[in-house]
């Protein structure tokens, strides 16, 4: 089974994002970037499938400027076999990304495509679903457990009310939720080895995809700040305030 993992370069999750003073976008100049945490979980899951002897090869792909090669190398250090960068401006729209991934999945004859459920920058939560739709293949989003059973997958999904289990025939698309696994740390020898693993660069043109977004970013603003309130001295005072001042309890 061949596994394709799509990964995205995003702001490091520990960094607090700031809006540019002209409100045109967020300020990413000189900000620490990293592999999107949900993508890291997807890479880990693929590598575990390979270690278990289920997956024959793990290919990682990222779409963006040359800078995203850094994140592809991170994925290679975690255990992926080879990488593909599809050259594009940063922050392409989700549909264009899905179209590119569809072509890459076809070229690679991937049996399973793993993605993070969402990127922590755009918070879109779309690409995996769009890719599955374009491929007309089944999807399991928000996965917390993936079990390979022959040519099918049994996937447990985290849904609003609890857990749902689906059976999908391969090829299929799976997006990862937080509890699927705990990604490993790349060891120094593996980081060194990753530098020698193959990394191909392609263009959307070569794949026959034209990037075109149907959405225009008008402005970005910081959220309304919440003011700190008061400290109360006792539970009695708290209940009195909630009853008579805030009037939120009877």
């Amino acid at each position: 089974m061949k596994v394709l993992v799509a990964v995205k370069r995003v702001i490091d999750y520990n960094v607090k994002v700031r809006v540019k003073s002209d409100r045109s976008d967020v300020d990413l100049a000189n900000v620490k970037m990293a592999l999107n945490p949900f993508c890291e979980i997807a890479v880990e899951e693929a590598v575990r499938l390979k270690e278990a002897g289920t997956a024959s090869e793990v290919v990682v792909v990222s779409i963006g400027s040359k800078a995203c090669q850094e994140q592809l190398r991170t994925a290679l250090a975690l255990g992926a076999d080879r990488a593909i960068q599809v050259e594009a401006a940063d922050q392409p729209d989700a549909l264009s990304v899905a179209r590119i991934l569809q072509k890459v999945a076809e070229e690679e004859s991937a049996d399973l495509v793993l993605l993070g459920k969402q990127a922590i920058d755009s918070d879109n939560n779309q690409t995996g679903q769009m890719l599955a739709a374009l491929m007309d293949r089944p999807q399991a989003t928000f996965a917390s457990e993936v079990v390979v059973e022959g040519d099918s997958l049994k996937v447990t999904r985290e849904v609003d009310g609890g857990l749902q289990t689906l059976s999908l025939k391969l090829p299929a698309v799976v997006t990862t939720d937080l509890r699927l696994n705990e990604p490993r740390y790349a060891s120094l020898p593996n980081i060194m080895k990753a530098k020698k693993k193959p990394l191909d660069v392609k263009t959307p043109d070569e794949l026959g995809v034209q990037l075109a977004s149907g959405a225009e970013l008008i402005s970005v603003e910081p959220p309304a700040e919440r003011q700190a309130g008061i400290k109360v001295g006792s539970v009695e005072e708290l209940v009195e305030k909630l009853r008579n001042e805030a009037k939120v309890i009877a």
Partner: protein, 309 residues
């Protein structure tokens, strides 16, 4: 303009988030139709037809739609999409699962989790875990979007008199099947729909201690939530998680117990009307967003709170 909304329901009744979507649709303007796709979903269809402001309810009652599988519902939506200017789904796990599939099949992008309607083609949505708010204009012929229910008031659940139309189209993807589900059973309201939420964090110490919160919740008719730290520590299941990677809530009253207030938790609850924090660490960041803070031992404060309600 006309708007098609994917109704969130459990076949018998309509989930409250649908009412918030009707309000969002009214802010865009135009005729509002609801799709109820399910199996033996007559009850949900009747409830949908009673919602004020709805023109028409389209009912697709078939085993193929029993579990809201995205592969099947998305094809049904695309078949019905003709003539609609907007297609809306709730920002729930069900809505997020299906809406992008609909958009891709229609060849358009999708706007996720809109929180405000600026114009029929322009919307606000949170990015970077709510640390920035983007205003986005869609130039696509059909606007497909998911809507954050807590950002819009609920429309009246009764008073409407929509026509009901049945749709016989059956879309069944051969390569996906439903195996089973484990849904948390609770008599308490759902987290995202509750007017009062009480949540516990790592400070609760273990899962058994959440019983202290349950007792307060029973007195207030509240839902019980948790921080990611409490979920990761194994105290409670993930469907109780409030935060960037869990549920977004905006109740009238939010009580945070033993929660330090990590950015990722604040992202899920900072739009609550009144926030109460109970924490023994007076430096905890949760106090910076709390209207009422109580510095103290939760194991004393929470039982006392229950006693005084």
């Amino acid at each position: 303009m006309s708007i098609l909304i994917i109704t969130e329901h459990d076949n018998q009744s309509v989930k409250p988030v649908t009412l918030n979507l009707v309000t969002a649709a009214q802010q865009i303007g135009g005729e509002i139709d609801l799709l109820v796709a399910g199996e033996n979903c007559q009850g949900a269809a009747e409830a949908a037809a009673a919602i004020a402001g709805v023109r028409k309810v389209i009912v697709a009652d078939n085993a193929a739609y029993a579990h809201q599988l995205a592969e099947n519902i998305s094809k049904l939506m695309v078949e019905l999409a003709d003539g609609y200017s907007h297609i809306m789904a709730p920002g729930t796990t069900t809505g997020k699962n299906v809406a992008p599939r609909v958009a891709a099949l229609l060849g358009v992008n999708q706007l996720s989790d809109i929180i405000a309607v600026e114009a029929a083609d322009t919307f606000k949505r949170p990015i970077y875990a709510g640390n920035a708010i983007a205003t986005v204009k869609s130039t696509d012929a059909v606007k497909v979007m998911t809507v954050r229910g807590t950002a819009f008031d609920a429309a009246a659940a009764s008073g409407g008199s929509a026509s009901v139309e049945s749709c016989d189209a059956v879309h069944q993807h051969a390569d996906v099947s439903f195996v089973g589900e484990e849904l948390a059973k609770s008599d308490r309201p759902e987290l995202t729909a509750a007017s009062v939420v009480i949540s516990g964090g790592r400070g609760m110490g273990n899962g058994d201690n959440f019983e202290l919160l349950n007792k307060v919740a029973d007195k207030l008719g509240a839902a019980v939530g948790a921080s990611r730290a409490a979920v990761d520590a194994g105290f409670v299941p993930n469907d109780m998680q409030v935060g960037q990677t869990g549920k977004m809530v905006a109740p009238e009253l939010y009580i945070a117990v033993g929660i330090s207030g990590a950015i990722q938790h604040l992202a899920g609850m900072k739009d609550s009307k009144v926030i109460v924090a109970i924490n023994k660490d007076e430096e905890a960041p949760i106090f910076q967003v709390a209207d009422y803070g109580l510095v103290g031992d939760l194991f004393e404060a929470v039982p006392e709170l229950e006693g005084r309600l």
